[in-house]
């Protein structure tokens, strides 16, 4: 498959890019302006990363304009601009993987053949929105993650695969969620590698609910439930 990974800094795509390429997929990485930063800040951040991990020779290669050949594309336009959709579409990708922190618009959602993948750390369609790990435990449900396609709604796109999460041995949500997010690449990879066997399931809106930021009082209660799982 031809897969695009959307990030706000190239290094965020490295692990998944390597794994996808090992599995025989072609990968293009798109770096978007971070909501918190401009192009210069992104360039500096990315360069600092490469300065830190690459050899001098590797750094020269990066800085000599090899980025495009490496299929790493800087996008400086606003993410909702039609131009961005056209640029991505020009790569004729089968799938996109979203690793950016903003909500995608139609221009990107429709820019690849099959759609945009997202790893949601809650069970869809039941727990949409924010703080879903906390809300899941608060409702006495087993933690799950869902890889789904993105549509115009929030976590309402077609479900591709649901992954049970053990989530034991954690004393706080910060480390628990860090663990969940660290597993995202494996789940995305599994879905892409087995795409032919997956039947997308559409969601019924009334099956689940949209959750919001959890109040600290309820958060503490949920964290107590997390500790009890250990």
């Amino acid at each position: 498959m031809r897969v695009g990974i959307m990030v706000t800094a190239f290094q965020a795509a490295e692990q998944l890019k390597t794994k996808l390429e090992k599995a025989g997929h072609q990968v293009v990485v798109f770096s978007f302006p971070s909501p918190q930063g401009n192009l210069r800040a992104r360039l500096q951040r990315t360069l600092l990363f490469y300065l830190g991990v690459n050899t001098l020779w590797g750094r020269f290669k990066e800085m000599a304009g090899f980025l495009k050949r490496l299929k790493k594309i800087y996008l400086n336009q606003p993410s909702d601009s039609p131009e961005v959709g056209e640029i991505i579409a020009s790569y004729r990708l089968d799938l996109l993987v979203q690793k950016v922190g903003f909500i995608l618009k139609e221009n990107i959602i429709k820019s690849s053949r099959l759609g945009v993948l997202n790893d949601h750390i809650g069970e869809l369609p039941f727990f949409r929105g924010r703080c879903v790990t906390e809300w899941t435990l608060l409702h006495g449900k087993a933690p799950m993650s869902t890889v789904h396609l993105i549509d115009r709604g929030v976590d309402t796109g077609e479900i591709l695969k649901i992954f049970p999460e053990e989530l034991k041995g954690f004393s706080d949500f910060k480390t628990a969620k860090h663990y969940l997010f660290s597993q995202a690449d494996e789940k995305i990879l599994e879905v892409i590698n087995h795409w032919e066997k997956i039947t997308p399931q559409s969601q019924q809106e009334k099956q689940g609910r949209q959750f919001f930021a959890i109040h600290p009082l309820l958060f503490d209660y949920a964290e107590g439930l997390l500790k009890q799982r250990s």
């Binding site: 809300w135 949209q210 109040h215 009082l217 309820l218």
Partner: protein, 167 residues
């Protein structure tokens, strides 16, 4: 719940009397109210929660969220811009109304999201409050009691917060 509502109304009346107003009304017409201006200050003190509401691509908001917001509009006839210009006591009164609204939604539906909203509203209220704490505390206790009751029901009796339960 009636007791809680009475307490809230007393607090609202207190806030209004401080402002020298008999009712929380403004001359602003419904036509002048812009939906995108609505949520933040009006529902008070939980911008992170409500920032989601204002996102432009949420063209079809969740039905309950929409109803809650419409209720707010009808109830207050007040934009957030207008609210910000009001004296503090009126802002507090508006937030108390928002809190009451959340609680009213919470009780019949047993939907924990409304309780969550009430908690955020309560926090916003406290952060700006000029009302003596001793007057607010009975309501705080009611809210906490409601929360404890909710969690107890969930945990012990298996009452499901989502009507119809999960499939």
């Amino acid at each position: 719940m009636d007791k809680f509502r009475r307490q809230l109304k007393q607090l609202i009346a207190y806030g209004l009397s401080k402002a020298g107003e008999s009712q929380l009304e403004s001359s602003e017409t419904a036509e002048e109210i812009k939906k995108e201006e609505l949520p933040y200050q009006l529902l008070g003190g939980f911008p992170e929660t409500l920032s989601l509401i204002s996102q432009a691509d949420w063209e079809t908001p969740h039905e309950e969220k929409r109803l809650a917001l419409e209720n707010c509009l009808k109830k207050f006839h007040l934009s957030s811009k207008k609210l910000a210009s009001l004296p503090s006591a009126q802002r507090i009164a508006a937030r108390l109304n928002a809190l009451e609204l959340f609680c009213r939604c919470y009780y019949p539906s047993r939907d924990i999201r409304f309780f969550n909203g009430a908690l955020w509203a309560w926090e916003g209220l406290l952060s700006e409050s000029e009302i003596p704490r001793r007057l607010l505390e009975p309501s705080a206790r009611s809210l906490e009691k409601a929360g404890e009751e909710f969690l107890r029901l969930m945990g012990e009796k298996g009452v499901h917060p989502l009507p119809g339960g999960f499939q």
